[in-house]
Subunit: 351 residues, 3 copies
């Protein structure tokens, strides 16, 4: 937290009510099971309830409906939703940190590039000809921004982000270290035994409020654009191929990947290491489980799992049977023999 | 396109024939379903045929055998193969772009490094002692080239590529941002409870005409070399372990990985997120599907899928049955009961 | 090797015994099947035994119990364990290489940062305010070390490593190019249709003797720390989510991933492309196979495979049956018909 607040100040900020000493001070956060004196913790998940009676945390956020069954040493702050309250506090602390601005020496900003007000450009960052950087945007050290890119306001490019020429990034975006935006799509035409490169002339468009994880890669389109709609959240090490479109507020977990020209709807949830084939359409609100392999269109609201993916309930039902396969195989062959014997016996009897 | 051509000029270049206004000008590419006036589009996939009657694109490349069933507003250029024609046009435009050359200030080139003619070295690039860079090669900003590397002619190293000491890259290669060439192989000898590092003394050799995707990693060999043969195309986020050899003109889709000492033949196709075990051999022209897990040698021309991988037809046939497993399980147990009853009845009758 | 040793010198170093010419010199390593004159090779795996009779290597390390069945041209050095002997030699050569030190121009070291003795800081590296770098540590070009980080002694940060503010790295660690340590965990709270970011206030702690592969990503905790215990070895392109803890001497192969808050025990082995769900516990010495998907707690010493993962023996037994599913399905339906006929026949007979 690197700041210090009394329980009363926090309760006022969160519009909560205090039980215990309102003057106790906290200057750090901790998990309830590892709570240290001088720290603030929270209880949101009921399976951690027992820890509230033994935690050393000085202040604990709890839901309004929490009922203590034993004495609690910590000062409690009751709020409507303890987890949301915690997020508000973390956010407040985050925003109180000083924000860098100014252009550090040993950075390269092309004469024809345009920087908004209060921009930060770290050392060893490279901003090429004709690029435009919006107000309050942070371009951390070792970032590369190619020719003719547009970056919006209040966006953070963490160290080492690489943005190829011509790409457009919106406002309030966060792109983590090592992410690559606008690399060539994987497009080759077979020509006898060899593959001839099809130049990738399009760009990547990233709308507002998008977060992109560390070392994630998003390829530029063959022509037109690969598009990441507003509010999308991508985790680390994700692959987004050329001409993909990801609908607004869709979230994808780490190491998942999308093949070329596939379109995802809004508000989908894609699990870790899931893979989506090319040229397919995923409906709004679809949920695709971890390690799923998707090779055909998926309807909105579908919940699928497995490779190839099937409805999640069906997948789990069949997965429970899978370890029984060797027994089923033996049983089936045994039954076949018994039926053969039954037939022979019946034949005898019928004579 | 950032250039402007008349339909006539394009038809001449592609040796095609014109239907419509030969003087109409285009200065951009577009997909047929999103075609804009002043742009050139193409029709190669029959499932997009309907769009040709409504597209706003000024010029459309079509195959010689295309037969219009309704009036078409755009000028048509008939060619032998519309997709190949498009690739030729994209290529021509790509090659007309000015190519950077010269050494930017704030780059580091060791005194003992040798640069060919017309090399570009971007700011914050680092070229260490004894490295040799071929003619016309582009070393973009923030690239690292370790001691004693050799890079061929006409090769492009995009921003942030890292090449460890001693590695050799051929001519006409393209290595995308964030790729790492020559990191240590994952080699450890267990020694009681701990793992002792086995120094990785080999290198990586990349032959001519290889393309390597963003954030892909290729480890150096324990001794000798990890080898990527000519014409290989690797997508993004691929892992190539130590002592692997990838045969000429093999292509690998994103997020696939190869374990140590495995040898791939020529002209193989590896799907996205596929994983190959260590110390195995994959024959020429093998096709390994997305998310496949390969743990044994694979013959040439084989087509496999699944984890562990089996012939692709078998995999799909069994995958269709997989969701029926719970029903099969119930049915099997039901049949067992019925057989028991049949036996008992038969026993009664036989008495 | 870039050095030159006689067979006698090597035998003395390894406490081995010589058969053949003790004065022959070697200056390189080679694999036995590709052995070149002037190089040293080794025979550890019996399946390569045949090569010892034809190898051109000048010296071959063999196990004490090796019995030649034909004449061998090379000088043999007999040691207790040929593979361990090789590792010792590789290690000795590695350590004899000159180690860089000093601060290169065009690097950035904040005034408030503290550097130990004999530290190397490469050009275009960035060391932010308040960071502390231990003795003999190598900070290669283009590395980023954020505010308030602590890096131990004898640690190597390869080119382009990015370490976010506040993280702690131990002694004798090796972090390969492009790895990202301390990026934000993937934490969002749904708020209507959108996802609100939960600031990630924790850090990453990496203990001693840890190796981290190229382009691997390790996220910082929401609060407290993501912890990598001593001796852990992570391969390339691995994802470690926020609040994960990896126990001492656990090894993970490339492209595997761990979801948030999961705890791995000591001395586990995780195969390539395996995925571990969130909030689970993996016991000590567990072995999780390649591409496994783990969604529940795993006991110590367990060996599991598949997605969802089951005991490895069960997985292979069922995998053998999987391709027989279409036949089983037909057979089952055939048996059902035959039972129906048997019943009808029995009914007739009983009348």
């Amino acid at each position: 937290m690197q700041l210090s607040f009394t329980a009363q100040q926090i309760a006022d900020f969160l519009k909560g009510t205090i039980e215990g000493d309102p003057t106790v001070k906290v200057s750090d956060f901790s998990k309830i099971e590892e709570g240290k004196p001088g720290s603030l913790s929270f209880l949101a998940n009921p399976k951690y309830t027992n820890y509230i009676y033994s935690t050393e945390a000085s202040v604990v956020l709890v839901n309004n409906d929490f009922v203590a069954e034993k004495p609690v040493k910590a000062t409690l702050i009751r709020v409507f939703n303890a987890y949301a309250g915690l997020a508000m506090l973390l956010d407040m602390v985050e925003k109180s940190k000083p924000r860098k601005k100014g252009i550090e020496p040993m950075s390269f900003v092309a004469d024809s590039a345009k920087l908004g007000s209060d921009v930060y450009v770290g050392a060893f960052a490279y901003i090429a000809d004709g690029s435009i950087i919006g107000d309050n945007t942070l371009v951390h050290p070792q970032v590369y921004i190619g020719e003719g890119c547009t970056i919006g306001d209040n966006t953070i490019l963490y160290p080492g982000v690489k943005i190829y020429p011509g790409c457009k990034i919106g406002n309030n975006c966060i792109i983590h270290a090592g992410a690559v935006i606008g690399s060539d799509g994987f497009g080759f035409a077979p020509e006898g035994d060899i593959y001839k490169k099809i130049p990738q002339m399009g760009i990547v468009i990233i709308e507002d409020d998008v977060e992109i994880g560390a070392n994630t890669t998003i390829d530029r389109a063959v022509m037109d654009a690969t598009i990441i709609r507003h509010g999308v959240k991508l985790d680390n090490l994700i692959q987004v191929a050329h001409n993909v479109e990801i609908g607004a507020n869709t979230v994808m977990a780490a190491q998942s990947g999308i093949s070329g020209s596939t379109k995802l709807g809004k508000h989908c949830v894609i699990g870790g290491q899931a893979g989506l084939g090319g040229h397919i359409t995923i409906g709004d609100n679809a949920s695709i489980g971890g390690q799923a392999g998707v090779i055909s269109n998926i309807k909105e609201n579908a919940q699928i799992l497995g490779s190839p993916a099937i409805p999640v309930k069906d997948f789990f039902k069949s997965s429970i049977i899978f370890p029984k396969l060797p027994d089923m195989y033996r049983q089936l062959n045994q039954l076949e023999k018994e039926i053969q014997q039954l037939k022979e016996e019946q034949n005898k009897q019928s004579k």
